[in-house]
Symmetry: C2
Amino acid sequence: MKAVGIKKSLSIEEKDSFISFETPKPEPGDQEILVKVKAVSVNPVDFKVRQSAAKDKELDEPKILGWDAAGVVEAVGSKVQLFREGDEVYYAGDLKKSGSNAEYQVVDERLVGHKPKNLSFEEAAAMPLTSLTAGEAIFDRFNFRENEGRDQTVLVIGGAGGVGSIGIQLLSKLTKLKVIATASRKETEEWCLNHGADVVVNHENLVKSMKEKGFEQVDFILNFIDTDAHWDAMAELIKPQGSICMIVETKEPVDLNKFKNKSVSLHWELMFTRALYQTEDMERQHEILENLGVLLNRGTIKSTLNKTFKGLTPESFREAHKLQESGKSIGKNVISF
Amino acid sequence: MKAVGIKKSLSIEEKDSFISFETPKPEPGDQEILVKVKAVSVNPVDFKVRQSAAKDKELDEPKILGWDAAGVVEAVGSKVQLFREGDEVYYAGDLKKSGSNAEYQVVDERLVGHKPKNLSFEEAAAMPLTSLTAGEAIFDRFNFRENEGRDQTVLVIGGAGGVGSIGIQLLSKLTKLKVIATASRKETEEWCLNHGADVVVNHENLVKSMKEKGFEQVDFILNFIDTDAHWDAMAELIKPQGSICMIVETKEPVDLNKFKNKSVSLHWELMFTRALYQTEDMERQHEILENLGVLLNRGTIKSTLNKTFKGLTPESFREAHKLQESGKSIGKNVISF
């Protein structure tokens, strides 16, 4: 089969930062499905792996990136129960395994949902990784239940990014929380409001911007952008006994004591934890994607797809990575094959 | 009234590290009660405040320490609803206010419980601060409900200390969790087992000691002793998606990324948060102490009182602080007036 991958960790400006190559079509294990990939999306994890996986020496075999896909089930393993041949599916998958930037991919059925029928493959491919991240953050880390949160407020740092765009929608549709999102440009501010934010504040001077809009403290903070940069602001803005969820690793050791007097809870969310550690509740990702599918089909939640690139080619991936790395990307960038 | 306090932050070896003095009897505010104090207990917060509150210059007025007391209500404020004159009470109180090492003290009624009738004032005075800390950690930070936790395990770091001694009891009586406690001496190991620990491990080489007893990872960690010292061990021992609660501030900035791949939740617990920030749910401390009172009266939970000193005198407090500072203290040290 055809695939796009990397042999060296190169700057995205270099022509060989992605290469096209042939590799054997994979075979599904007992609890895996083989998917013919129709569209994939790009996330920060893609360029982080691209920049680090082959830094020291060229790889013997090219590495296939991509952890967000929609496609059609071509074959199923002997113990697969949730899917059959011909099913349309969407999933993020497993960071330890070969990615989705290829004609075919195998993936554990417990990490996969049925693609919402009313969405195109491109619209569906935009959703899994970010929705799993936001969904796990809100419902598994914060332990929120639907329709909770009346008279409470959540601050979403990075409202217009991939995770923010679906996070805001889930919060506004499934909880009673007042949703404050951060953005710093006219374009991203509008995007946040269109996706369900009640208020938009500027993250360049977060505490001041919050005060100007009449907010001193919030019950919850979802930081989807930069943990270090907003560390002190989070300590100031979180209510006593409040909860913060972070998804971006810190660059430096941090002063945890800033949160002690308020008895704050700090949660890490990594969407790959369940697959990485093969946790007993791995099938929770199937459940999240199935529930999300219902909401996407009904139009309660809309796909965060913003830009589509065409073709399983090094050029498409270079363009998509370049945009993702710029930090200016809004919503999701998809590549359709 | 008579009180014992400090004017300077001095080594506990110095005679004037505590002084005796006269000061006006306080008057209760609207929602406060005036308590005739019968017994108090000593916690790490006492020597931390003693060592830091008057470091740079001598105070104009002596500062009264002590945030754990049992006594009798002598008068109530105009809006007090939970107590009346003559009630026997126990409480930890408010770190911002004058402490309990005096003949009388005023305290917000929402922070106070009725003293369990079957306990002496000394046995009761041993309990509030540590029980509120352990109770809030388990039931408010971890959000545990009674009888939950079947097939799950909790590691209590510092099992024989004040908070550990009541924490182990609450866990073993009110949850279904398997309780592993740490201790490093024969005496403290027995204390932990007597207070309900299922297993005791040595915290001097925690990961190795856990493995030797057949435990690789746990669902919950309560670190009541030293956050920095056990940071790496906690990262290794916590299960993916597990929760950790800490009560001791870190000495250095910490590497938070160690917990990211496992999507771990890290909770701070400070028993004074509710009073410090006058949170809406302050009365939760009344509720915790009332519930605990029922368990103490029934004998389901036993007082963690281990050693009693006599008299509202500088000498008693010097002895009690010396023992507390040594780090060798087991259970609780009380001073009865």
